[in-house]
Amino acid sequence: MIWAGVLIASASCYALKLAGLSLPQRWLQDPRVQRTVPLIPIALLAALVATQTFSTGQHLVLDVRAAALVVAIVAVVLRAPFLVVVAAASLTAALLRLL
């Protein structure tokens, strides 16, 4: 069942790319489509970060992941390289769990 979902999601993602290269230009040039599509990843990724940080299953929880996220945000604001951001956040969570 999981692999069926993975395959369908994969096919959808590929079809979207191919559609962009193949469809008549004006179909995707509607200003409302042009405005809306870039907003979708922003909103979805923000929502994904929030739910992965503040929940376990269907329960809202506040644990070391929140601290790790704060560290990651600080690192991003300081313009740290990507790997440093990820490592700093992971290290924060690991160290806090050891306490």
Binding site: M1, I2, A4, G5, V6, I8, A9, S10, S12, C13, Y14, L16, K17, L18, A19, G20, L21, L23, Q25, Q29, R32, Q34, R35, T36, V37, P38, L39, I40, P41, I42, A43, L44, L45, A46, A47, L48, V49, A50, T51, Q52, T53, S55, G57, Q58, L60, V64, R65, A68, L69, A72, V76, V85, V86, A89, S90, T92, A93, A94, L95, R97
Partner: protein, 169 residues
Amino acid sequence: MFTGASQFALVGVIGAGGSIWAGAATAALLGSRNALYGLRLASLLDVRGVRRVVAAQVVLDETTAMAIARDDPRQSRFAFWATGFALFTFWNLGTLAGALATQALSNPKLLGLDAAPPAAFRLRAREPLAIALAAAVVAIVVLPFVPAGVPLLIVALLVSLYGLFGRAA
């Protein structure tokens, strides 16, 4: 599936106990921006037949950025293919290494690795802050009341409605 955000989202939704179908829908929604990249690249690349079928697989954030940053169309095409080839190779090698390495780990939590995906996403979600914050709040508010994975679909619906009808054109 060769588009990073969609991969992360699919794994994230399933990992949180969501259904595979909620995960697949989220992954496809995240892939929708690649259609707009394709639109932008179509005239630049001018690919047909088999080359278009191959090119489509590497229509991504990175290849689009590299291709449209060049003034000369020949350089654009070279940038697109070179970036696509390098990304495809190393991304998939990295994925394989990750899959093998985590099988050897008894408990990824001990290394704090469960905190890594949210940290990785911070980089991608920097513009416009207001939409990101609103999406995060909505997802958290509805989370206790709906099955795992569904908060993301609600957010996708709301942001689409906002984009299509929310503001004056």
